[in-house]
Symmetry: C2
Subunit: 340 residues, 2 copies
């Protein structure tokens, strides 16, 4: 069922469930630009993420889950700044115009958009079947999210200080394990509920937007975990000019991960697996109990995993001794797996 | 020469020529989000465009020209709203990490960014060679531009009124002819300077940012021409609830286009060819002379091509008689060429 791009936009994207009106958006889909009006005294936080078929998601993945995930991983960047979501734009390069696929994909987007009061306000739709030359390209999605945060209160990566506690929300490694199940059929004997909870961690990562906003004025630095703690924590250390000591036995691991994965492999998934989209933040010791209370009130698990140290190295400790771990996060231009 | 993504960002993108500091950006590359501070009393204009190899540009195109074009076509959306550029983000899915290619590509971006005081403030870099499944994808670029415009003064598509003059900047059809030369080797006997001027219209469309800003408070509606006048003018008519009568003999055609192309084919390129990135706008008759003066002062050619009429139809006229033209702009999901 071929449609033209304006039909597709009208039927699938410019719908009240997805492109709903909000006060901070004065002009949305249908013009050359969208027009936003951030609240007075606020800064605008913007972030973009591209998801490519075969790189960030499997070619046969469920379009509803892809729609959810596409927006969730972008909202995670707003969460990491403590910003409140305002709206998003979406550029898609589509291999075709499959109405059933688009219906499910936009339903997944709309579920997350509605939950976060973050409407679609514009975008760009192209066919990846190339009229100029070559073969058809993969499905490619690019979201840009816009949020706002009172000026001066955004959680940056650069504020960690020696002595600060290092904390993470949720549990680590589940999404990486879920991807192994989806892609490789790993751990076939794992009971179905545990299997599904790991897969779900990949498909629909927890949104930490409320947690990020609750950390304003308390956390000294924050970021979201997309490439794996081993790689991502390094960015906070580098931006802040500090080191860290992490107790690997304190890493929060889920029941499902522990049931599925042998102890040594757990560490590789939790530290190097990526796709967690949990927050990693630092907080001065005197603020730690307030942080714990605020996140508990949101139902968000939080766990101290280490401490900021002088110097610039990231050390992994277990039972009072340093571990010699060689861990890397996902790197797009190396294609190395994790190794522990 | 493999590099990791952070190396590539540092070496090629986070450079002072491209990611320079401006007062309205309080945090740029290197955190989870960029932070913007639009001027008080301004609305933020945002637009996104995805460019896919084989769809929007030829696989063997010059990376410097691609860099220029990638940003220019996005700035064109700001121009169409009368917005002043603030900054942009860039998401790329790259087949590899070719340093020479990246150097030329970012030099093209930087030329346009510098000219428009519009720095790169963030983005996302992924490898399109897929670790999960399938074959390597095409190069895919997604830019989002941010601009600002005093609240209430943005040029929308919806303000055209019966009796308004319809105007376009520059000349039409050159980029479409340039693409025919680049792709098909069309018009091989055309003198080199004319040939090059048509190709250049495709590679580096004129930026109409200053013209767009000059039209604030004067134009009743505006948009930029990306799919061809026949398709794009329809959007203004639909958004404004009006019709139009266009005099095809008044269409501004370049000397190069007239030298290359037979009269009947000229019309197809000028009306349905796309990629012009000129502004099409409407203006009440009493403001027309001021518009002409302001654009002349900027060195921007402007031409009245018709008038807004009651009703909802778009009529093409020549020598006092209506022409029966069947024209379509580029449609991503039909793959029809232009026909006249």
């Amino acid at each position: 069922m071929a449609s033209d791009e304006f039909d597709i936009i009208r039927r699938h994207f410019n719908r009240p469930e997805l492109a709903f009106a909000v006060p901070s958006v004065s002009l949305a889909i249908g013009d050359d630009c969208a027009l936003l009006q951030p609240s007075p005294g606020c800064e605008l936080a913007v972030s973009t993420d591209m998801l490519v078929e075969g790189v960030h998601f499997l070619p046969d993945c469920d379009p509803f889950q892809l729609g959810q995930r596409t927006l969730l991983v972008n909202l995670s960047d707003l969460a990491a700044m403590g910003a409140r979501p305002l709206c998003f734009t979406l550029a898609l390069s589509l291999p075709g115009s499959d109405a059933a696929w688009l219906t499910r994909f936009t339903a997944g987007l709309a579920r997350v958009a509605g939950e976060h009061h973050c409407p679609l306000v514009g975008g760009d739709l192209t066919a990846s079947a190339p009229p100029l030359a070559g073969r058809s390209g993969p499905l490619c999605l690019c979201v840009q999210v816009h949020g706002e945060v009172p000026a001066g209160t955004a959680l940056r990566r650069s504020g960690a200080r020696v002595g600060d506690a290092i904390c993470v929300t949720g549990t680590l490694g589940d999404a990486a394990a879920g991807l192994r199940i989806l892609r490789d059929g790993a751990w076939p004997t794992l009971p179905t509920p545990l299997r599904e909870s790991l897969q779900q961690a990949f498909h629909a990562p927890q949104s930490r937007v409320a947690a990020g906003m609750a950390l304003r004025g308390l956390a000294s630095a924050a970021m979201d975990l997309s490439d794996g703690l081993a790689s991502d924590l390094g960015h906070i250390l580098q931006a802040s000019g500090v080191g860290a000591r992490v107790d690997v036995d304190a890493l929060p691991l889920s029941e499902a991960l522990c049931a599925a994965v042998a102890p040594q492999e757990r560490l590789a998934l939790a530290l190097g697996g990526g796709d967690d989209y949990e927050l990693c933040f630092t907080v001065a010791p005197q603020h730690l109990s307030v942080v714990q209370e605020r996140l508990a009130a949101l139902g968000t698990r939080v766990c101290q995993i280490g401490q900021i140290t002088p110097g610039s190295t990231l050390q992994w400790w277990r039972e009072g001794r340093e571990l010699a771990l060689k861990l890397r996060g996902y790197n797009h231009f190396h294609r190395e797996g994790e190794s522990a």
